[in-house]
Amino acid sequence: MSLLLQEVSDRAQQLGVPFNVHLDLTYRCNEKCVHCYLDHEDHGEMTTIEIKRLLKEMADAGVFMLTLSGGEIFLRRDFFEILDYGRELTFCLKLKTNAVLIREAQASRLRDIGVASIQVSIYSHRPEIHDAITRIPGSLERSINAIRFLKSQGLKVIIANVLMTGNMRDIHAVRKLAEQLGVECTLDPTVTPMMDGDRSTLNLNAGESALRDLFRDEAFGGNADCAPPLPPDESVMESLPCSAGHTSCYISPYGEFYPCVQFPLSCGNVRRQPFLDIWRNSERLKEVRSIRLRDLSSCSQCVHGSSCTRCPGLAYMEGNMRGPSTQDCEKSFARTGIPSANLLARKVTPPAPRLIQIQLVPVIAGSRLATVSAAAGAD
């Protein structure tokens, strides 16, 4: 995150503004990815009118960054109507898609609307691997063609890969593919539980040795000399776990309001209650906001307390939003070789670590004007 964006995000937090919203327009999908955490049946998506009303409420509440995702967003027949309205309301629009349905016409329209970025899921450079993960023959070719269409329109594209047992040998080739296509690339070793709590997808996580290698792989921003962790000091004890519920939130296709897409604690439903009313008055959201590191019984005593990327949502899905996220404990162990307080208490040998976010972001020179401040690459 750029310094300016961090400053703006801090300001949003001080003002209590929901700066960043992730809205899933549908859970339906034209791919059937083995690691997906969603139920793809349509259980009653919000209508066009409901979504437009929600967008207006969000704009009025001060939402700036709006990520539209799914499911596959292009399966909604009203997708461009929604996107046009989002542009009219001057959101910073970001999309997540498998891009299978994007052709020249769609790419051109996205350019005209002024979408800030399009994240496309690519799991391998080899069709036999990618298509086996999506379970749709020909999906890799169509997604790559779509990336070319999007690039030809001058749009910013980000390839999003997920580290799994089935594709762990291809991560460097995917990165090279991204370079050849002239796009950015992210790699997320997080295979999360399904939103209904089913944890069987976690078996797809790559092993501990793969994650340890990744942490030391300079091509992915890793560093062989991972410093030993420092115990948390007073300022860390007062720090916030993450932005979930503080400056960001998630809305499902059915209107459910969660702190984050990975934090399925329902705080209300925008079909029954105005967005800003939930944001300001939900008791559950207030509880999420109240949590500091010092309130976490295990993590506040852990040597990784100041460096851990503990996800409150994953902790919640483990059963306690004030508890540890074992997936993050395993990650800290892979990075440093030192077990967390949680792992020591459970006397477990860490299995495959799971949660990190490594992003390859090219450095772009920022512009600064005499009367305005600017920061490039504001993701």
């Binding site: 703006v8 003002l15 700036f64 001057t90 004007l369 009367t371 401040s373 490039a376």
Partner: protein, 106 residues
């Protein structure tokens, strides 16, 4: 006689008031700008129909207690800077077909 300039918000930008600041992000280059109060007034009144000198006289001079000549000179320079980054349009003719309603203050 100096030609009149018209300014309009670009139709492909993101913008939102955050407190007293205006955030603007151009789709072109994903560059985030925060506008100071003077630039914010210019931005909010860039409707494509009102000449820049009128915006300066009626909005900027009144709000910031600055003389019209100085303010217009600065506003023209600012408008050109914003135009270079694709977040403002400048023309010697009125500009139509810009998208956005003025972003609301939060």
């Amino acid at each position: 006689m100096t030609k009149q300039l018209y300014v309009a918000r670009s139709p492909r930008i993101a913008a939102r008031m955050l407190g007293e600041e205006m955030l603007v992000m151009s789709a072109q280059g994903s560059t985030l700008f925060t506008l100071n109060p003077t630039a914010t007034v210019l931005w909010q009144n860039a409707d494509g129909a009102t000449p820049l000198d009128q915006i300066v006289e009626s909005k900027i001079c009144r709000a910031f207690e600055v003389t019209p000549d100085v303010a217009l000179h600065d506003a023209e320079a600012l408008a050109e800077d914003l135009a270079k980054h694709g977040i403002l349009l400048i023309s010697e003719q009125p500009i139509s077909n810009t998208n956005s309603p003025e972003p609301e203050r939060r």
